[in-house]
Amino acid sequence: MDLISKKELLSMTGISYGQLYRWKRERLIPEEWFIKQSSYTGQETFFPRDQVLQRIKSILELKDSYSLEELAQMLSPEATNAFLSAQALSGMEEIDASLPPLLASIDPKVQYTFPEVVLFAVFSRAIRELRLSSADTESLLRRCIPLAEALKNMDMTCVVFTAGGSHHLALVKSSAPLQFDSDIQVLGSYPVSELAGQIKLKYNRKMAIKG
């Protein structure tokens, strides 16, 4: 994992120690991202670079329009009870254009739950980057739909791999990556939490909350 030191983070983003710790207390920056490593001066804290920079960017953009508590709720790794209509889903740029028609035939629904939307977004990223054929896409999608159930917590990584010629997809906890044997070829792994956070923020107003 590409790490960034605390000092570098502060000078890059221009935030202060006070802000960093305030956001940590408000659970805007998860505690797991504070990675302590020993250095010549004793101990230093590092962060996962892409995740923390993206997160601080979103906090800085949104902190004037939302309270810290609202932000914490939006950015927290837990799934919300939100739903998105099938129509809104097809309008999302995070969703590959090939998915909505496929979904309509495999798993037709009027609205999709938040974990499903996130899963489809991760899935879209994977098929775009891996350039999967439409036959592979369809069979993989058919198999991975039930996985949305497992996406209660967004702190997961989605791993796409091939085994025996067919494509597979697995969700693993980001903190515990899987090690495969030599017959299995990992094609790509995609962190879920950032995408989930982005979707939560971007489509907040379009989602219907079911209490």
Binding site: K7, Y17, G18, Y21, R22, G42
Partner: protein, 202 residues
């Protein structure tokens, strides 16, 4: 919400309270959420504590994390296996924390002993009489103090990181990193200073 007052010896199991007032000796066996916890006697809590205000004039021991808006310590406060998260900490007494104190503002005239003290503004000015100084060698100690603004007196720390740092008399610091204005009193020792700082002449 229910209020509770312990004047003799009492025990509660935890839960949701309005005001918890300890004038005698009280113990809490589990997690507690309260508006105010006022300790004038002796109090011990075995769980996680969440409160708007904790005011400790007596002696309090928390064996778990403490999340509080304002923490005022005029007596003795010990957090054994946990950390403190607060908006404001005001310590004129003595505080011992095994983990981290994270507070927007921390003002201390008393003694603080913690693993890490972090926040926006950290001011620790530990002052005791000359006689007491014969017996107490280290006043306030911390492995790490990290905040935007830091003012220290009588503090022993391994690492101090901040934007504006004022090191008053009686401090012993191993490494200091400062990115703004820095003042070091002549009676204090700082072994290594790093960062892009401007030294202020005394």
């Amino acid at each position: 919400m229910q209020d509770i007052r312990i004047e003799g010896v009492g025990k509660i199991n935890g839960g949701d309270y309005g005001v918890i007032r300890i004038d005698g000796a009280g113990e809490c066996a589990g997690d507690v959420i309260a508006q105010t916890i006022k300790i004038d006697g002796k109090y011990k809590c075995q769980g996680v504590t969440k409160a708007e205000l904790i005011d400790c004039d007596g002696m309090a021991t928390f064996n778990g994390n403490v999340q509080v808006k304002t923490l005022r310590v005029d007596g003795l406060c010990k957090i054994n296996s946990g950390s403190v998260e607060a908006e404001e900490v005001d310590c004129d007494g003595s505080m011992t924390v095994s983990g981290q104190i994270s507070a927007d503002t921390l003002l201390a005239d008393g003694l603080i002993d913690a693993k890490e003290i972090v926040g926006d503004r950290v001011v620790i000015k530990s002052r005791i009489s000359k006689l007491a100084r014969l017996f107490i060698k280290h006043l306030s100690t911390a492995d790490l103090i990290e905040a935007t603004t830091i003012e220290l007196e009588g503090v022993t720390a391994r690492t101090v990181n901040g934007s504006d740092v004022t090191i008053g008399p009686g401090c012993r610091i191993e490494t200091l990193d400062c990115s703004g204005r820095l003042f070091i009193h002549k009676d204090s020792t700082v072994k290594i200073v790093t960062g892009d700082y401007t030294l202020i002449d005394p």
